[in-house]
Symmetry: C2
Subunit: 183 residues, 2 copies
Amino acid sequence: MLRRGFGGFAYQHIAVQLGIRNAAIHYHFPSKDDLGVALVQRYRGGFHAWVADLPSGWSSWQTLRAYFETYGRYLQGEACRLCPGGALAAEFETLPEPMRHEVRLLMRDIHQWLSDTLETGRREGVLRFQGQPSDKAIELAAALQGGLQTARLIGTQRFYQLLDQLALELTGETPACDAGAMP
Amino acid sequence: MLRRGFGGFAYQHIAVQLGIRNAAIHYHFPSKDDLGVALVQRYRGGFHAWVADLPSGWSSWQTLRAYFETYGRYLQGEACRLCPGGALAAEFETLPEPMRHEVRLLMRDIHQWLSDTLETGRREGVLRFQGQPSDKAIELAAALQGGLQTARLIGTQRFYQLLDQLALELTGETPACDAGAMP
DNA sequence: GTCTATATCCGGATAGAC
DNA sequence: GTCTATCCGGATATAGAC
């Protein structure tokens, strides 16, 4: 789904990879909508687990940098995947309503976490940005999601440069993560 | 296509709106691929025409602000459309190769124009940003495209706030366009 | 150039054996 | 829980009349 979108993948794709028949998938997920909803719920649960597992000693910038790296990971392998939010927001109009609801929840949680992290980071002096944290959060999320999509057109290297650019603006210095050197 | 994506719209949708039959569309565009390629070419031509029509007296910030406003226009009406780049980059994997080529050209032209505009604006002192113009151009384009997609989830108001946020960072002051007051 | 009618294919979904 | 076989709807595409 992260490669082809919800409307772009078929039971057949899964069946071939698992070496089963698509009827077997229908046993676990009666309709494609059910499968879609379960996937988004899994993504959201994964995000919550990721946030919960962050080392408590990390600064806001360290956690934000780690979040950037999760996006870099979507490009690893020959897959060139999108982030869940980017794949699903783009085809939001054609999604069944139950999926739309889950996507809204996922996006809300990400924005909330980003906003909190940005606010804390600025208060502690490790992050710099103008405007409201909630607005900056939406800008960051949009840039990451749009950049990931564009990476498939113009090359992954450009996406790592985008990560560096975002880091440069947030910290005011050359990024410590050196995303440009990532694989 | 800007609402449902290339894979998400059918000849039927067009036929109903035009009050014709889908066979009539096939007369003009034998295959859906042909229609898709023609659409992207039209978008690119429209962008070139838009750039060519910019008043020669405008500053870099005035033209950039006008570019932002074209994105705000995608949200007008009840359509809630995406920008061509955002709609097509998201489903790039499933696009036929001739369309991919056109999308790459469109994205390249937009990035090039943005980069040039940013560079000029900074040199003339009307725009402020860190890093290379080419990197900032990709960040801007990604934020606009991702933000437009996200607007359908969280409301158009948030997108206008994003435009304000981008303007604030580029000019260092409250945006003159007051995008937050747009319809 | 547009119509009616139809061919063709694909993907989601179900029935029933095992 | 997975299989084979089949149904069904939707979408691209074509043939031929007008």
